[in-house]
C-alpha cells in the first residue's frame, strides 16, 4: 500500500505548486568570508510545495546558501525573504519561530551523541513543540522511525550506528516536527544506491504528505531525478541555469552538461 503510493508518486511528476505562493525569495544575495567571496549573486524563488534541487561542485557555497536561509549566517547584501519576511531583520524570538517551521538536515546528520536515537527524536518534540502527551510522542517517534526504516535501532546510541543509519536518524529528527520548509544538505551522500533511493522517495513522500517545500542540495543525480520539480545549477557563487530535470538534461551549457554526462 505504502510502496504503491511512493511508486505512483515517483512516476507522476506533476508540479504541485499550483497556488504559486512564494515561500522563499532570494535576490542578489552576496556573502564572503574574509577576502573570499563565496556567494556572488544568488537569485532563487521557491513556491509552496515545490522541491528545488541545487546541483554544484564542492565548495561552491551550497551549504552557505541554506545556512543563510535559517539565519545561521548573515548575508553581506541582497534580499532573503522567507514567508515574506527578511531573515536578517528578524529579532531573536521571530527567528526562533521561523526556525520551528524550517527543518534543516545537516550534511553530517548532527545527531546528539550523548542521547539514544529515541531521545534524539524526542528532543525537538519536547523542547521545541513542547509536547507533553507521552502517547503522542511515542506514536510520532514510531511513525518516523518506521518511515526511515530504523524501527529496530531506536534504543541505540549514535556511535553504534553506521553512517547511513546516522544520516537516516538525522533525517528522522528533522522530519518529526513536520516542518513547512525542508532544507536537505546532501541527504544521500555516502549511502548505498538502494538506501539513497529510499531516502529520495521519502523526501518525495514528505512533499506529498505534508505539502513540504524543499531545497535539496545533492551530487546524486538519481536523487535529483526522483525528487526535483525544478533543478538549479550553481557555479562560482551564482545560479547559472534552472529548469526541470529533463530540460537541463538536454542543455547545451558545458557546465550543466558535465553534471548529466554520467546518465543516459
Amino acid at each position: 500500500m505504502e510502496e504503491a503510493t511512493i511508486k505512483h508518486q515517483t512516476e507522476k511528476k506533476a508540479p504541485v505548486h499550483d497556488k504559486k505562493e512564494v515561500v522563499i525569495e532570494i535576490k542578489k544575495l552576496k556573502k564572503s568570508f574574509g577576502t573570499k567571496q563565496v556567494l556572488t549573486n544568488i537569485n532563487l524563488t521557491v513556491h509552496r510545495g515545490e522541491n528545488v534541487v541545487v546541483l554544484g561542485k564542492s565548495g561552491q557555497g551550497k551549504s552557505v546558501t541554506i545556512q543563510c536561509i535559517v539565519g545561521m549566517l548573515i548575508p553581506d547584501s541582497g534580499t532573503l525573504k522567507v514567508f515574506g519576511e527578511e531573515v536578517a531583520e528578524l529579532n531573536e524570538k521571530e527567528l526562533k519561530e521561523l526556525r520551528i517551521k524550517i527543518g534543516f538536515l545537516f550534511q553530517s546528520g548532527a545527531l546528539y551523541d550523548s542521547m539514544t536515537v529515541r531521545e534524539n527524536l524526542e528532543f525537538p518534540l519536547t523542547r521545541v513543540l513542547k509536547l507533553k502527551d507521552h502517547a503522542e510522542i511515542d506514536k510520532r517517534v514510531e511513525d518516523v522511525l518506521e518511515s526511515v526504516g530504523l524501527a529496530d535501532a531506536a534504543d541505540k546510541m549514535p556511535s553504534d550506528l553506521s553512517g547511513g543509519m546516522r544520516k537516516r536518524a538525522g533525517l528522522a529528527r528533522t522530519l518529526i516536527v513536520h516542518p513547512e520548509i525542508m532544507l536537505y544538505d546532501e541527504p544521500t551522500t555516502g549511502l548505498d544506491p538502494i538506501t539513497s533511493r529510499e531516502i529520495s522517495e521519502l523526501i518525495l513522500n514528505m512533499q506529498k504528505k505534508y505539502k513540504t517545500t524543499s531545497i535539496i542540495i545533492t551530487h546524486d543525480m538519481e536523487c535529483a531525478r526522483i525528487t526535483a520539480d525544478r533543478v538549479v545549477i550553481m557555479n562560482d557563487g551564482e545560479y547559472i541555469e534552472e529548469g526541470t530535470f529533463d530540460t537541463l538534461h538536454h542543455s547545451k551549457n558545458e557546465i550543466v552538461k558535465s553534471f548529466f554526462k554520467d546518465i543516459s
Binding site: V70, M72, K96, E97, R99, I100, I102, G103, F104, F106, Q107, S108, A110, L111, Y112, D113, S114, F123, P124, R127, V128, K130, R173, T174, V177
Partner: protein
C-alpha cells in the same frame, strides 16, 4: 608602526571579553526563561560528583597527611606540637582545601565540559540544536554551570573532611591522639569566619569552572584539533580564574572578618 602590531591583539582581547560578558548575561537570562531542564541538571550534578569524587578524596587525604608531616618538625621545635590540629584545620579549611580541590576540578570538570561542548560544536550538534528552534544555552549551558556551582562547594566540604581525617591518621604515626579528642580540637579551632568565607569562595570557583568550560566549548573553532584546544584552554583559564578569585576573596574576607 608598533601600535599597528599591538592594537589588533588588544582588539581581539577586548572582543573576547565582550563576548564573555554577553555569554554570561545570556546564561543568567536563560536560567529564568521557564522550562528548566531538571533531569539534565540532576544528571550533570551526578556526573560531576561521581567523576570527581575519588580524585578529590585521594588528593585531599594526601594533602592532609603531607601537611601534618611537614608542619610537625617546625611546631615541635617551638614546643607547640599540640597546635598541630589547629594549624592544620585552619590552613586546610581556609585556603589549601578549597584551592587545591578547585584546581583538581578545573582539570577534571572544566576540561571535560570544554571537550564535550567543543566536539558538539565541531560536529554541528550545537548548530543543529539552535537551528531546530531548541535552546542549547538552556539545555547545555545553564545546567552545566549551575551543576558545577553546586557540586564544587559540596566536593570541597567533602575534601575538607577527608583531608582533616588524613591529618588525624598522620598525627597518629608519631603521637597518640584519639579521634574524638582530635575532632574536638579541630572543631574548637574553627569558627564561621574560617568556614563561611571559604565556602562562599568555592561557590565562585564552581561558577568559574562551569562558565569557562562552557564558554570555551561553545567558542571552539571548526576542525577536530580545536576540541583539544578548547579543553586545554578551559583548564588553563579556569585555573587562572581560581587564583584571581582567591586573591580577591582574601582581600574581601580580611576586610570583613579579620580587621
Amino acid at each position: 608602526m608598533a601600535e599597528e602590531i599591538i592594537i589588533p591583539g588588544w582588539k581581539k582581547w577586548l572582543e573576547d571579553i565582550g563576548e564573555q560578558v554577553s555569554f554570561f548575561t545570556r546564561f543568567v537570562k536563560n536560567i529564568f526563561v521557564g522550562g528548566f531542564e531538571w533531569s539534565e541538571f540532576v544528571r550533570q550534578c551526578y556526573e560531576i560528583g561521581y567523576r570527581s569524587f575519588m580524585l578529590v578524596g585521594i588528593t585531599s587525604f594526601i594533602m592532609g597527611v603531607v601537611l601534618i608531616l611537614q608542619l610537625r618538625p617546625t611546631l615541635v621545635a617551638f614546643g607547640a606540637a599540640s597546635m598541630l590540629p589547629k594549624t592544620l584545620s585552619v590552613s586546610f579549611v581556609r585556603e589549601i582545601g578549597p584551592v587545591i580541590i578547585a584546581i583538581i576540578c578545573a582539570g577534571k570538570i572544566a576540561s571535560s565540559i570544554g571537550a564535550e561542548l567543543g566536539s558538539m560544536k565541531v560536529t554541528e550538534q550545537l548548530d543543529a540544536m539552535d537551528v531546530s528552534g531548541a535552546n542549547p544555552l538552556q539545555y547545555l549551558v545553564v545546567t552545566r554551570i549551575l551543576a558545577t556551582t553546586i557540586m564544587v562547594p559540596i566536593l570541597s566540604v567533602m575534601g575538607d573532611v577527608i583531608g582533616l581525617f588524613g591529618g588525624f591518621l598522620a598525627l597518629n604515626l608519631r603521637d597518640h591522639m584519639s579521634l574524638s579528642l582530635y575532632a574536638t580540637k579541630v572543631l574548637a579551632s574553627l569558627d564561621y569566619t574560617d568556614f563561611l568565607p571559604a565556602f562562599i569562595k568555592t561557590i565562585f570557583f564552581g561558577l568559574a569552572i562551569g562558565f569557562v568550560g562552557c564558554y570555551k566549548g561553545f567558542h571552539s573553532a571548526r576542525g577536530t584539533e580545536s576540541v583539544g584546544l578548547a579543553a586545554n584552554s578551559a583548564v588553563v583559564t579556569a585555573s587562572l580564574w581560581i587564583f584571581v578569585i582567591d586573591a580577591i576573596a582574601v582581600q574581601v574576607t580580611s576586610l570583613l572578618f579579620y580587621k
